[in-house]
């Protein structure tokens, strides 16, 4: 018999921020209370097994209207990989122009998701 335990956390799926209480067995959610939508179920399952977050940061741009361009992970990636990801993203330097949605790094740190540009950025001058 494995032991069950309860875990409390705030759902970050939307601004409501439901206070979830999950009864868990290892990395499996047996029961969930406090969620008010199905996104909470998915969030709790991930949060117990492997917390996932959308990653956002910036990359350096040469000759652009701004010296940096905002980027994000196309889909959420494991929270535990966030610092590995941020180190990889920090190494990038691209020439302008940048187009929104452009892939900056494919399959970042083997997470299966890409880092993409969040805006278009033309060349200098502004």
């Amino acid at each position: 018999m494995s032991k069950t335990e309860t875990k409390k956390f705030i759902c970050v799926a939307c601004p409501v921020g439901c206070a979830l209480t999950a009864t868990i067995d290892g990395t499996e959610v047996l029961e969930l209370e406090g969620n008010t939508c199905p996104r909470g179920v998915t969030y709790a399952r991930d949060e117990v097994a492997n917390p996932m977050r959308t990653f956002t940061s910036t990359v350096r741009v040469g000759g652009g209207a701004l010296p940096v361009c905002p980027v994000r992970s196309r889909t959420p990636l494991p929270l535990k990989k966030v610092f590995d990801v941020t180190k990889e993203v920090a190494k990038v330097s691209l020439p302008a122009p940048i187009t929104i949605g452009q892939v900056i790094i494919e399959n970042i740190c083997g997470t299966g998701t890409d880092i993409i540009a969040c805006r278009s950025l033309g060349v200098r001058p502004r």
Partner: protein, 429 residues
């Protein structure tokens, strides 16, 4: 004043942030011929361009976007709708509205490097200047005045748009959303964040931001604390923090020194209404924004307002929706077709409610009112509008999140003629 040119427009929108862009699109869709957005920055988008975190667009686009992506979507819609943008253009002076043929119209003055000074005449105006952070000078912190003290939004611009990090060891004063989001951002950029210190017993920002910005990175959140003194001669070397009671009075014997080289201030946003005042428009003393009715129309009938210039919002999607309402009404006014309702009601704050907007209703169309609660209620409660025109059960109510009250014109107009005030309140069930 002499201007190089006088330009006539139908609907002028002042400010190219989310409220202004949405207003301009709605004005075009309502049939206004010439709709121009005046934006002082080199590009439209406003503060969203520096909000590179996700969480925008859940209502409008049913997906989670970053700030710049949300702007990109709206700029495409604006282009399709035929909205004109006048960028790098500062609106620096506003004349009092003029009456002509029984209708009022606006006149204001802009400056830009390309065209110099111009006088703009508009049949109607949407004020969408947004808000400004409470500046360092308004914080009443004792001690020295070293470098390293920034508002959270300034730091956000430095990091996310200008590409440099304002410090290495950071204390955050306040627990507003921008402060929480900057805590995570600074950590990801290699800085150490010592903690966020908020005076109230609850965080000012959303719970999800406490979870994903502080908890995820092991950053402590100190509630019931004030940052009361700065130390350091040239560069900040540390701050004194002290525990405070519910009335924000320092508790003796609790002061301690916290080492840091950077202090970010995340305490409050103030609607930016210098131009509104110049036009002689009535300001609500509580929200700091113009008094508006359900059409987002101000006390000067050719002026409309939307977004954070009216009241500070929590979610940008609501700002866009409000922009649409203002833009549509402004276009109708410009065409001489805006019909107010037959009544006049003032909206008053009852128990545990503050900063309601709109705060006047005419019964001309269904109204969406936004408000915040004064203190958090973490149990079943009821939000109501008396006399008997709205009632909604809520599972909770928190100051960090706005609440909506929807009032139908039909119900308002059915009220007895002696009813001149609507009272909104929250009661615990």
């Amino acid at each position: 004043m002499n201007a190089n040119t006088v330009k006539n427009v139908d609907v002028a929108v002042i400010g190219g942030g989310p409220a202004g862009i949405a207003a301009a699109i709605a004005a075009r869709k309502e049939g206004a011929e010439r709709v121009v957005v005046f934006e002082r920055d080199w590009e439209a988008g406003g503060i969203l361009q520096q909000c590179i975190h996700p969480g925008f667009g859940l209502h409008m686009f049913k997906e989670e976007l970053t700030g710049p992506e949300y702007v990109d979507r709206y700029l495409r819609l604006a282009e399709e709708a035929g909205v004109e943008f006048s960028l790098n253009t500062m609106v620096f002076s506003m004349d009092k509205p003029q009456s002509f043929d029984g209708r009022k119209s606006a006149s204001f003055w802009v400056m830009s490097p390309k065209r110099g000074v111009e006088n703009i005449k508009a049949k109607s105006v949407v004020l969408a200047m947004g808000c400004r952070e409470r500046p360092a000078g308004a914080h009443a912190i004792a001690g020295t005045r070293p470098a390293g003290v920034y508002t959270a939004g300034t730091a956000q611009r430095f990091v996310n748009m200008e590409g440099f990090l304002p410090g290495k060891k950071v204390v955050i004063r306040g627990t507003g959303d921008i402060g929480l989001i900057m805590a995570r951002r600074m950590v990801l950029e290699g800085a150490e964040v010592v903690g966020a210190f908020g005076a109230m017993p609850w965080p000012a920002g959303l719970r999800r931001n406490v979870a994903q910005c502080l908890d995820d990175f092991g950053i402590p959140c100190y509630l019931g604390y004030n940052v009361c003194e700065l130390h350091g001669s040239k560069r900040l070397e540390g701050v004194s923090v002290v525990q405070v009671d519910r009335n924000r009075r320092s508790i003796e014997g609790t002061m301690r020194f916290v080492e840091c080289d950077t202090l970010l201030l995340a305490v409050g946003l103030i609607p930016e209404n210098e131009l509104t005042r110049m036009a002689g428009i009535k300001i609500d003393s509580y929200t700091g924004g113009p008094v508006v009715n359900e059409f987002m129309q101000t006390s000067e009938e050719c002026f409309f307002a939307a977004g954070n210039v009216v009241v500070v919002y929590d979610v940008v999607d609501f700002v866009s929706q409000e922009g649409e309402r203002a833009g549509k009404a402004a276009a109708l006014y410009a065409a001489g077709k805006l019909e107010k309702g037959p009544r006049y009601f003032s909206v008053e704050a009852g128990p545990n409610v503050k900063g309601i907007s709109p705060c006047e209703l005419t019964g001309g169309q269904d109204a969406t009112l936004f408000l915040r609660v004064l203190e958090p209620v973490e149990q079943s409660c009821r939000l109501y509008a008396e006399p008997g025109i709205f009632s909604q059960k809520l599972r909770y109510a928190r100051p960090s999140e706005m609440n909506e009250v929807r009032v139908s014109a039909e119900k308002l107009n059915a009220l007895p003629p002696d009813v001149k005030a609507i009272k909104i309140g929250l009661e615990i069930l």
